[in-house]
């Protein structure tokens, strides 16, 4: 018997839960999963640079490779299989139509450096998507190339610094709220700006008085997220924008939470100067186990000349790609080629499918779902801030006080109930945060099941059922993993066993 109380097996498999070794442990010389024609006779222009040594790659046939990856996939939770109440991530349904159209050979087989005349359809798609993003956000200009949200933030903040330098006044620091996502200060540091945190008030919003006190003529930018990382709309945002602009600084918005307001509010109307969007959040492109993303940046006409290349320019019916920089002092390119075209196609299909009415409904249902959760869990968990939330609701660990159970333990117990945990320990402004974002993709029945499980767990925690939590998860492909051991003795790759190890 194993510690979990299940019968141990000879094979190491447990029914459909397969024990799958590493590729390197399965491979054998002489096996290959791809048939290729012979190179044929003929000259060799490698000079003295031919690689003669063994690379060390394992050989597998196609059936072995397929089985390997199918078995690995079975160990993963996914949005297709269940709800992710992950605050700040917007885990919504990934429509399969988007996968189909992204794979059209007329898109998938385009080389980025083909002559413009041979890719007019691709350029037209990028233009059409950027026009939609401009309409939805209210800005006149979009930089499409950033590869993900963090690169979008870097693009936005660098564009701001370039604009300030063109004025002859680069300034010296950036203000971010204490609830900011870690990418915000990391990005500011890459732009040469030390970061100062502005405290949040007891209503969970940025403290306007503190912000005013911290602003000065040496502040380059204020970076906010709106709705913020507590799931609350920054209701003093117009005053904030006025204060920021009054000192000659720029107002950057992290657009990670755009799902709450798409089609209902335009960030440009809030006084924001630049904002990145996460196509892999609001616009449904799949998370793929960690990426790829896409982080286009919308911005004002004042900032546009300083944005990095490339941009698309229309002359009558003809589109062309402008690959050299805008004005003197514009930010240079951040990556090769043009942007995450595969994600553009998917996001565009998502936008066309929803239209303005559908997108408006996305925001409404996202906010409705989060408030439904909040109301249902109000008595059993501890909501951090009173009143309505936007598309995500923030709980903290006060409801677990004196139970000996932490937010982490509660999250691991959610796994046994069949749910991916909520976002834990973020934002840092409350203790033991549980940030919960259901998205508009969840039906009422799905939400009711989540509510039932979270309520049940809260009640069991208060009833002193500690082992349920301390030993969770019990039903996942792995129990809790020793992260201390992984960090103290990092093993970051497979290595062939030494002769002594092999002899054992």
């Amino acid at each position: 018997m194993t510690a979990g109380g299940n019968p141990s097996t000879h094979s190491g498999h447990r029914g459909l839960d397969m024990d799958e070794p590493l590729l390197f442990e399965i491979g054998a010389p002489g096996r290959c999963g791809v048939d290729l024609p012979a190179a044929g006779p003929g000259g060799d222009c490698l000079g003295a640079m031919s690689r003669e040594n063994l690379v060390g790659l394992p050989g597998l046939s196609e059936p072995q490779v397929v089985r390997h990856y199918v078995r690995l996939s079975q160990k993963n939770y996914s949005i297709d299989a269940g709800l992710y109440p992950l605050g700040s991530c917007t885990m919504k349904h990934n429509p399969r139509l988007n996968e189909k159209v992204a794979r059209l050979p007329g898109f998938a087989d385009l080389h980025p450096l083909q002559p413009a005349a041979s890719v007019q359809g691709a350029l037209a798609l990028i233009e059409a998507l950027s026009e939609w993003l401009a309409i939805l956000t209210g800005f006149p200009a979009v930089a499409m190339s950033p590869a993900a949200g963090a690169q979008g933030e870097l693009c936005g903040l660098m564009t701001i610094r370039a604009a300030l330098e063109a004025r002859g006044d680069a300034r010296a620091r950036v203000l971010v709220p204490d609830s900011a996502h870690g990418t915000n200060p990391a990005t500011a540091a890459l732009c040469g700006y030390p970061v100062e945190a502005v405290p949040s008030n007891e209503r969970g919003r940025i403290d306007l008085a503190a912000l005013k006190a911290q602003l000065g003529s040496d502040v380059a930018a204020v970076m906010l997220t709106n709705p913020n990382t507590c799931g609350l709309f920054e209701d003093e945002i117009l005053e904030i924008a006025a204060e920021v602009h009054g000192t000659g600084a720029f107002f950057y918005c992290d657009g990670a939470n755009f799902n709450a307001i798409v089609g209902k509010v335009r960030p440009a109307d809030l006084g924001i100067d630049a904002m990145h969007l996460n196509l892999h959040k609001t616009f449904s492109t799949p998370h793929g186990g960690g990426g790829p993303g896409s982080g286009p940046v919308v911005m004002t006409a004042e900032l546009a000349p300083f944005a990095p290349p490339p941009s698309i320019v229309r002359d009558g019916d003809t589109l062309s790609l402008v690959e050299t920089g805008g004005s003197e002092g514009a930010v240079g390119r951040l990556r090769a080629f043009h942007g995450q075209m595969g994600m553009f196609i998917r996001a565009y299909a998502f936008i066309l499918s929803h239209g303005v009415d559908g997108l408006c409904q996305v925001a409404e249902d996202a906010v409705l779902n989060a408030n439904y959760l909040r109301t249902a869990l109000l008595d059993d968990l501890s909501v951090s801030y009173a009143g309505l939330c936007m598309h995500e609701v923030l709980f903290d660990d006060r409801f677990l006080r004196d139970t000996g159970i932490s937010t982490l333990d509660y999250a691991k117990a959610m796994i046994d109930e069949g749910f991916h945990p909520a976002t834990v320990y973020f934002p840092l402004v409350v203790q033991g945060a549980l940030l919960t974002e259901p998205t508009e993709s969840e039906s009422k029945e799905s939400l009711d099941r989540l509510i039932g499980a979270m309520r049940f767990l809260a009640q069991r925690a208060k009833a002193g059922d500690t082992s349920r939590f301390a030993e969770a998860p019990r039903l996942a492909p792995r129990r809790r993993l020793d992260e201390t051991h992984a960090a103290r003795h990092p093993v970051l790759r497979w290595r062939p066993p030494t002769r002594t190890e092999a002899a054992e």
């Binding site: 320990y425 992260e483 201390t484 960090a487 103290r488």
Partner: protein, 125 residues
Amino acid sequence: MSETRYTRDHEWIRIEDGVATIGITDYAQTQLGDIVFVELPTPDTSIEAGAEAAVVESVKAASEVYAPIGGEVIEVNEDLQESPASVNEDAEGAGWFIKLRMSDPADLDDLMDAAAYAEYVAGLD
């Protein structure tokens, strides 16, 4: 004779023959959890009082450790590379971080003695 002093940031410092040995307190290590790595300064560099002397990493956090006094780094605890766990097991002994040759003994005057530190910690939540 050696004496140990403590800071409000939970560092300890033990003086013996003009050499100060510095580390973090047992209270600090319980707060941080399992230590996985300690980033130490290079020997033969000098550190000012109040400047960053080391960084202690647990799985989920990294905390700066500030020099309670200034001086020249004469030795760092190389054993921590292989066994960061000694900071958890024996924070005020084998888990030491740095040995400094003090530049100004007067720096010690503002630090707490063992009794004052114990009282300070008891007063924390």
